[in-house]
Each structure stands twice: as C-alpha cells, then as structure tokens.
Amino acid sequence: MTGGRLAVRKTYKLFIGGAFPRSESGRTLELEGYNVARASRKDAREAVVAARKAFGGWSAATAYNRGQVLYRLAETMETRAGAFAAACTGRREVARAIDRVVWYAGWADKLAQVLGSANPVAGPYFNFTIPEPTGVVAIIAPTEPALDGLVARLAPAVVGGNAVIILASDDHPLAAIELAEAVATSDVPGGVVNVLTGLRSELAPVLAAHMDVNAIDVTGADGDVAALEVLAAENVKRVVRAREDRSPWEIASFMELKTVWHPIGR
C-alpha cells in the first residue's frame, strides 16, 4: 500500500494466439510475489497450433512491413520501460533490450541481400538463393538476464518471419509476460509470439518432441539438453544455440535457404 491506496495488482497469464488465457489446467505457481500461470502440455500444444496459424501471414508479409512492426514493438516497450525495469535487473537492461529490438528491426529488409546470393551457374538460368523462415520455433529463454536474454533470442527469430513459442524463465517469468503485453499492443499479429510460463522441465520436452515445431532454441535450456536433442531428431528439428550477441547470423540460424532456377530464353 502506497500513499494510502491499495495497488491494483496484475494477473499474470499465458499469451497464446494474441489472447491472454489462464492455463487450461487451472494451475499456478507463486513466483516473484505473484500467482503465475503454470502452463500444461495442452497449453503448449495450443500454442503450437496458434503459431502455425500465424506463420503463413507473418512469413508472407513484406520485409519492410515486418521491420516496421518490430520497430513498433520497440516503441511499445519504451513506454513500458518502468514496468520492464521492475521485472528485470533495471533500466540499463531495458535500454539494452529495446535497442536490440530496434537493431534487429532494421535487418528485416536487408537479410536477403546479406544472406542470399545470385549464383553464376553454367547454363541458361537465373539462379538465386534467398533465406526463408523455417516455420514454428520453440525458444527456451535464458534465465538471466530475464528481459534482454529473452529479447536476444526472440528478435532474431521473429524478424526473419518465424512464429515463436517462448518458454519463459522458471524463476523470473514476469519479464516475459510484460513483453507479451508489449507485443499485444504493438502490431505483431496474434500467434506470431506466444509465451508460456510454468515449469520448463515439464514443457520443453513437449515442444522438443512436437512434430509441427520446426526448430528449437536451446540457448536457455538447463538440465538435460541432450535429451531434448534426442526428441528433436524425430522430425529433424533445427537445434539452435546462441553463438553471437547481435548478428545477422543469429537470424540465419532460424532460416532455411531456398535456391530457385529460373529459365532464361528468348
């Protein structure tokens, strides 16, 4: 209670398909002073369905549009800087995270030029290679730093046109939910970013084994990463780890490469 007024507390829920549902299981965990939703396997599967549905539109959006939408996310984050600061290590981390979103936003319409190529084949064909998003990506968010660590994995995956499911940090999930609220009020289409809170030991294997998930980012995985990789092999998932702090190659690790042979003739 401050100034004689009782604060209105926030209910921290999941973020699936652009909506904020409670866990279908009705379970919560008490964390950082709040009852945070404890997502079930079914919630995880719902998130995959939502992501798959959103992938088509998001990946087909123009690169210019995706860049603008991501920049818009930076704007909505900026106005929530105070709330973010309370959910992570403070203002400096928030500033880093927002600047990171701006940096990646600018990559949207440059990726194909830096990662793609025109290939001089010996024959009457215009042959070119372009990066395309791999599809639905599960991201196991790094535990620390709660906000910037998450943004460092989310931004490169989303800017390339993927739809993502984030498994928030077990112990510090509030930053992820705050981020979901910023996403919801930006122009990111519903389902492109989905956030699950709960126990990662329970949820990560479900996403690693899911046949409609194309890639899994294990950067933040704790415990038995090898077991997740074994599950991921069932549909030849791309297993991604952070290599660099900020780089177009971090985007590339969530991308496929398509090569097209187009005929040339009179």
Binding site: V121, T134, N214, A226, N235, R238, W249, V260, W261, H262
Partner: protein
Amino acid sequence: MTDLQKRGDRSPVPTDWTYAPAPESTDIVRLQERYGLYVGGEWLETKDQFTTIAPRDESPLAEVGQASEADVQNAVAAAREAFKSWSKLPATERAKYLFRIARILAERSREFAVLESLNGGKPIKESRDVDLPLAAAHFFYYAGWADKLEYAYPNRSPKPLGVAGQIIPWNFPLLMLAWKIAPALACGNTVVLKPAETTPLTALLFADVCRQAEVPPGVVNIVTGDGSTGAHLVRSEGIGKVAFTGSTEVGKAIQRELAGRDISLTLELGGKAANIVFEDCALDQAVEGIVNGIYFNQGHVCCAGSRLLVQESIHDQLVRKLKRRMSTLRVGDPLDKNTDVGAINSKAQLDRITELVQAGTDEGAELYQPPCRLPEKGWWFAPTVFTNVAQSHRIAQEEIFGPVLSVLTFRTPDEAVEKANNTMYGLSAGIWTEKGSRILWMADRLRAGVVWGNTFNRFDPASPFGGYKESGFGREGGRHGLEAYLRFE
C-alpha cells in the same frame, strides 16, 4: 551389326532400325583383386573383407575392406594428425591442391565414369556427362574459395572445424564424394570419408588421385564398410563435424547419436518432390523434364520428381505423351552408350521398389510400364508410372528411390501448392509454365530447398543444394556450402 538391305543403285539401308549395341570398353579400368583402407596416405589391411559387385550382372569386381571400430579410430587419428599442418598451410597452397584434384579428375574422367557405371549400375552416358564433369567442377569451384573465406564471411574470422566424418550414398558415389571433400578441404579441414557399402570403388580410386596430386598423407582418408563402419565414425571422439547424405531414417539416428555433443552436423536426406505442370507449359519440353526428373539414374535420386502434379485440363494429353515417350526409353546394360535406364543398384533396393509398387497397385492406383525386355542377370526395374493416385497412397508419400512416378492432379495454383507441400519432405520441386511470374509465385510458396523452373535435376557447384523439413539441414554448393565446414570466432 544390323543387316543391310541393297536397294538397286541407291545406298543400302538397315533391314530394321533398332539400336545396335554400343558397349563402352571396360579395359581402361584396372581393378585390384583386393582393396584395403586408405589411411594416412597408405593402404591398411582389414581383418574382414566383403565382395563388391556389378549390379548389371551380379559379377564380383573386387574384395573390399570392412573397417572395424579400431580401423575407423586409426583413420580419425591420421586425419587429426594431418589437420595440424593442413589447417596451417597457406590457404593459397590448399587451393592449389584442390585445383590439381579437379584437373586430374577431368583427365581421368573416362576411367572414373566406366568404373562408376560398373560398380553402381548407372548408364555410362550419365556418369560420363553428368557425374564426372560435375565432380571435377565442384573441386574447381571450391578450390577458388580456399583463400577467400574472409570475403565470404567478413568480420567473422572463419576457422576449420577439424576432422570431418563424411558418409555418402550409393546413387552418385563420386559426385557425393566431391560435394563432401571439396568444401571440407577448402575450409582447412581433413576428412574421413565412408563411401556406401555397395559402391566403394570410385572412392578407392580417388585415393589414387590424391596420390597423384601429392595431397599430404592423412588429409583424405577413405574407410569402406557397411552401416556399422558409419556408426563407428559418427561415434568417434576425434571428429568435429559429421556430414551425411542418405535416408531420413539414418539421418535421424545420426542426429540422435550426436545429441549433447558439440559437433557440427549437416544432413541431406530423402525427398518426395512435386513436379508441377501447368496447362500453359511447353508440353513436349515438360514431358522431357518429367522423364529426366524421375527416370534419371533409375530414380535413385533424393531430389527426383517422383510426384507429378498435372493441371486437370491437360492430364489425359500429358499422360498419353508421357507413356509414348517412356516406350522409347532403353533399359539395359549401363555400359551401353545408348542406355537410358541402367541397373538397380542392389537387390535390397530392388526389393524395396517392388514392395512399394505392389502397394501402389493394392491401394488402387493404375500401373503402366512400357513393354521392354529386361536382361536376365542383374537387377532391373522397368520405368513405371501410376495414374489415379491419391495423396494418402504410400506411393504418394514414401520415397521409393526407383523409376516410379505417381501422377496426381490439381486445378488451381493454390491447390498445387497445397498438394506439393503435403509431405514431410522438402528437398526439391519443379514448375512447368510459360508464365515467368507464376514460376516465381509458386517458388515463393513451395517449402523446398531447390526449385526448378522449366527444368529438373539440374546441378551446379555454384548453386546451393539442401532441404527443408525432414529432408535435412545445411547446404552443399555455392558460398552457402562453406558454412557447414567452418566455425567462427
């Protein structure tokens, strides 16, 4: 020779117009009775051997070593030793070794082509005109990259990974060797390569190319054997990279095996490519492309156009033309220069094709095979087309890896995209239309790593190749193919 008919004072003509045999001589190939493993620049004997044969008549060609776990360890150790100096060699010198290899392959191309057809069963015209020129070109292409890596990856300081364990299939033995070894060496790695069990001979002959090119001992090591040899290689402690081309099933097993180990992995796996034909295409050209797409190399091609999607309005006409064209395919001796479709690589593969074709008939699809006489010895399968195929049929979902085409229909471009993408694979696709904008519209929506417009099964060292989804990850060819063999600091 065909009999000639005298016609008065005019020039004599043949009594019938069938092809005369045109066998390529095998004299140019000098096979040893027995081969060891090529390790550290020397030939090592193995405890066990197996016989490698010619699929065209099942005759034995040579005894080949079955590499044990200890043999594989020796090879990896030799590669690690060689890595110390090879990775420190001035990059321009590395490049020159690769240029030498490219030149020697071109010089000895006939010998390699004959051996490839002998051991693998593919038509000599394909090994001569496709496999060999492409293999040599691949070394030539990557040779030039060896001392230019920092231009491919500015500000990233590219470094080699160490020893690359490479496992290749039997459908393009030497070409797959080139796809694996050329970029690996260009990036400063050393390699242990395991050729397929049924086609070890051109890889073993490649050891002689390394000798001629004076490649330092241990930079290229060749270990032969069955699947267990490959498993030993993948499990080996000393490797920094695994590159595999083969079935999706084995690819998944390798991915599982490497779980929890920080080893770079690239997989080039199976496919079930859609070859999509629109009503406005140049029909005769499309028919040639369809035939090339599925009957090239007996259909033993991971990116083969095995699902033909035809726009409904031209289905009957196209199928008629296709059947007529199929009746002119010459099936038989791979060493005959007129042969279009050679021998099936192995008994096991023939059994698999036969089983899936039976499933096609059982599930209600309509089978057509042109009349052709198959040789009595050896393994053969007549070019086959199934019409009336449903998407749920096994022959529309499973990779057959043989000369078997499944025909489905569509009405709109959207439906074509939907059906083409309805597979766990995503390696390649073909589009036939005279409308350039439609090729690009379709290409944009097909979830496949390689998309061919008005052509099929075309390859080039400068063109990246590899799959989406369960067709694997990583690219071979082009600038993008370098990444599989580098780490960045």
